[in-house]
Symmetry: C2
């Protein structure tokens, strides 16, 4: 029998993937149970507040994955330009590897739930804001001045999120490639 | 009693608004009926294939609204730069007027359904592609050369979609304002 902590992690991983693919409302508790293989009892034990509590945990998981991805890309890049381009390429690779099913781990849930669940809304809000902050910090490390780094980070995250939406809908990476050029302009302009 | 055509239009208008606010899966048929005031029988009469057929019609409605908006903004703008900025401001105004509930009319549905419904997936795909095409055409009219207009239009649509996602999640128009600067750069760069 799986340890409780295993069940909890498996449940959150399955939920995060399903929410990413079909959104919060399109995922039923029995879908999560079936995908995780966790026993039904563990679900009520670990998440007494139900689906909303699972969503909070799934958002936290997606948040950590994206932060780790940003840090890893920053580590492997030598300039603000290569950093932005590598973000786009990493996301494009993930999208393609999932057969265009997995774009941003939080976007679908954020759009569905923004006004319905205070706790999930807050979790997505905090996650996006943290990504913006981390992108801005990397831009500063690569020499973008303080005043420009924050707005450029917002525009980079918007560009990536929008391009992922289009790429996923089209089942084509072309919007991601065009995002690279737009972001290159953004970080290399004399501002 | 409402004429059948009135019922059909009311049903589609209510569905489009609900799909925009909470997405396809978060909207039940009885929500659409309650919001539209249309009689239940008319729903089965006008949409024999059910919710998926309603979604196709709602996507078409959202598509037409966005195309009309793009045409209207183009008409009121004097340059590629003011065109892009006015797109962002018009969308920001709509988002704010809806208390941050209505961003892009199609984004939520597109993300939820991309892989589940062939017909709704195709409708959202065709709509986004048409918006890109119309934005590109306006850019060319304002002097952006043919080769640059299409990729710039994709980047503008991505920037707007991503900024709407962030603005809606944050309940703040700041990402829309930052999108203006990013798009200004995009359309005024000599590249």
């Amino acid at each position: 029998m799986a340890k409780p902590s295993d069940s909890k992690e498996k449940t959150l991983a399955a939920a995060a993937r399903l929410f990413c693919r079909r959104g919060y409302h399109g995922t039923a508790l029995h879908d999560i149970l079936a995908a995780s293989g966790a026993p039904r009892g563990s679900l009520y034990f670990h998440f007494p507040r139900g689906k909303e509590e699972i969503a909070e945990g799934a958002v936290a998981l997606g948040d950590r994955a994206v932060r780790a991805f940003i840090a890893q890309v920053a580590e492997a890049s030598r300039s603000a330009e290569t950093f932005a381009i590598n973000l786009a390429r990493g996301m494009a690779a993930r999208l393609e590897a999932s057969d265009f099913r997995e774009g941003c781990p939080l976007a679908t849930t954020a759009l569905e739930i923004a006004t319905d669940s205070e706790s999930v809304g807050k979790a997505t809000r905090d996650a996006f804001a943290a990504w913006e902050g981390e992108i801005a910090q990397v831009l500063r490390r690569f020499g973008i001045d303080k005043k420009r780094a924050a707005p450029a980070a917002t525009a980079i995250l918007s560009q990536l999120e929008g391009a992922l939406l289009l790429a996923r809908t089209y089942r084509s990476l072309e919007p991601m490639r065009r995002a690279e050029d737009a972001m290159r302009l953004l970080v290399t302009s004399p501002g």
